[in-house]
């Protein structure tokens, strides 16, 4: 049997993006979040997740894409015991894909994408989540 992975697919701007489900802790709805003055652009703000203060990342800034900035949901990931929320416009769902069907992304897209997969004739960009987070961490001097 072909090796399969599960990906969480979400919409950001006009495009669909996918992350490996194993990297995701949970998905939550964002009702309120608080702006953080002086924060870098890719930090939308902070919000309250069951009593914990979680930063909310706007990865459209990092991916350099246009988004509608109408964030409704957050994909929560954990990195080095720190929870981080990634703001998305809409979570589409979880899909199984065959690893062999992942095509390399054209180099113009940038090195935040690990590949592209075709799902029911829709292109999904697979995000190198770890790379993005470690970039953010480096930038903020974690």
């Amino acid at each position: 049997m072909a090796k399969e992975i599960q990906i969480l697919v979400f919409r950001l701007g006009s495009q669909l993006w996918g992350v490996n489900i194993l990297d995701v802790n949970e998905v939550v709805k964002i009702k309120l979040f608080t702006l953080v003055p002086r924060a870098p652009k890719y930090i939308l703000g902070v919000f309250n997740l069951r009593g914990q203060i979680i930063p909310l990342l706007d990865i459209s800034v990092i991916l350099n894409i246009n988004s509608y900035r109408s964030y409704k949901e957050a994909v929560i990931v954990e990195y080095d015991n720190e929870m981080i929320g990634i703001a998305v416009e809409k979570v589409i769902g979880v899909y199984r894909i065959e690893e062999s069907k992942i095509r390399p992304a054209p180099s113009e897209i940038g090195d935040h994408t690990s590949g592209i997969v075709d799902l029911d004739n829709k292109m999904i960009n697979l995000i190198k989540l770890e790379r993005i987070i470690s970039m953010v961490i480096e930038d903020t001097g974690f």
Partner: protein, 718 residues
Amino acid sequence: MVGSIDKEFLEIFIDETLEYISELEYLISRLQEQPNNKEIINKLFRILHSLKGNAATIGLDKLAHVSHKAEDLLDLIRRNEIRATKDTITLLYKVLDYISKAVNELSAGKSISSPEEILLEIEQVIKQATNSSEDKGENINRNIDDEKALQKEGLLESNDVKKMQQSTQKIPLQGSTVNNIDIKELNEDITDSASCMGILDFTESEKIKLAEAINKDLSIYCIVLKFRDPTFITFRYFQALQRLGEVGDIIKSIPSGSDVLRMKTDTISIIIGIKKLNDLKDAIREINDLVDHKIMRININDLNIDLNKVSIDAEGDRLSALENIIKKIEYGEEHKSLTEPEPTKLKKLQEVRINVRSLDTLFNLVGELVLIKSRLLSLASQYDIQSLKEALTTFERLVNELQNEIMLMRLVPLHYLFRRIPRFANELSEKYGKQLDIYYEGGEIALDRKVLEELSEPLFKVIEILVKDDIEKPDVRVMKGKPSVGTIRIYAYREGNRVIITVESDGKGLDSEEVAKRAVELGLVPPSSIGKLTDEEKLMLATLPGFSLRNNEFAGLDKIKHSIESIGGTIEIYSKTDHETKITFKMPVSMATLRALLIKLKDQIYAIPVSSIITTMKLNVLNSAGNINVIKYQSKFVSVHDLARILEIENKRKNKNYIVLIEKRGKYIGLLVDEILGQEDIVVKPLSKLLSKIKGFSGATILGGGKVCLILDPISLL
């Protein structure tokens, strides 16, 4: 031993070993100070000895092996064949590291890593010391040697024990003719341990067991086992009973199996029926960690028990006697669990272990409760309902008490940090080639667990910086006319609801002019701003990010400052060239809640700690002096800044009506805000590490409604 027992024992073992690890650490650090202190060496020896025994019993051979070797090492130290030099101490620390690691591995469900390396190291040290004198067969008889050694040191009252053994040995095993205990003597002997009281008061079921034992021609003995200390007692208890059960019929024990869990005793009394005294003695010899034991023959006639009234079957029949033993064991266990249900067990418990995580959860919940309380109170103040007010007053009191109690539960003495200092200093002096005397006091001062945790890194970092960059090399010190050995003093004391911790060293010092010059050189501050600063303020420039003197000296103070401030503390630096350098932390005792003023700025609410606010006022006239705005406060002019502009928020609103006057290191500064909402108790929560570099915020809190509110930090704001 098999599966389930193993697991249960393992948990007890891990728990108790963890306690011992910190004890070991402490003792090693003491040994370093007093390398000839026999008492410390003996204590270390005992702990390792216990550890060895316990580890071996549950099949942790690697750990047992290492403890055993370390014990050998200590034995040599005790016999003055090895000196407790720095190298030896380092080796002992390595043993400690191995043990901690092993325990961590155990609790993570992993297998213990290989002890080869550490064993080899100990072996080498031992070999060097014993090259000439020791022969190779020694190891086999180690255990007996140990006991002998213990006796030599007076740890076992060997004479007493021997006498006792001799006298009991001569007793023929049959019949009750021989002079034996008289109860009075027994009670006198062991009155020091409350646990022995009532050992000769038998319940009906115990009488049956007694009668059965007598009928099997067993001799009845009372054994008193005295362990080194109450630690590991549960473990030792079951171990002892198991071993004794193999050689005789245990009639009763005090404490009983279910009592031992909740009693902190070091003494166990057991009534046992045995066939041969030698078997019993062999069994006792195999019990670990005894400091003393007594074996006393009990004369049945003295007991005032009419055994005829006790119904017995199977007279003299060995087979059925055997069956009875089995039955009894089964019955006994069942019996115990039936008559001692859980609830009564809990009732008498004095202490329970609580998972730190549940304590944290509880702490957070109470924090939320405090917030709700504040909200309720402010809501209720809008209505004039007497009964509501009364109910709320009680509610407030209860919540405050609850909060207080939880706070106390979380306090941990600084000792837990301080006891790691000697070892750390040791490593530092080696690493940087400095000679060091290190003193610390105030270990009894208690702080919130979380504060303590967060304090650890900055504290040790400060010590390192001072050792590395302040204390001079020995030859330089001598040239300066100072003693070649540098001194680091760490002291802590309470001041109101803060704890002041100072690290002081007598090195070359930090010159405020040099610091200021360097800060300008590095472009951290504009040259123009230096002139007005006081010496103290100049020294504080050393805590700017990116600061270091030449050769990277005194680098990293910014990180320390940041971690201290993130838990609500402040840092101060004081230095006198070539005399002393002091770095002081002022820490909150608890992070429970903070009284804060809530203000509004462009639809966002921010909290400002009340502790740094002087006053608030409505803006009347804003004067300007040059291009800065000033107001007059108590006949002084105070500069006023637009908070929105400081925070780089676009705020087009014109009606900024209020000024919050804050104090920043003795200077008053006015902040212009849109609205003032009022005071509230807030729970300080750390901002995510991702945001830790952003200046101006010391944390965040959650307001009613679940929205996050940032807490402004006046000090780093401007």
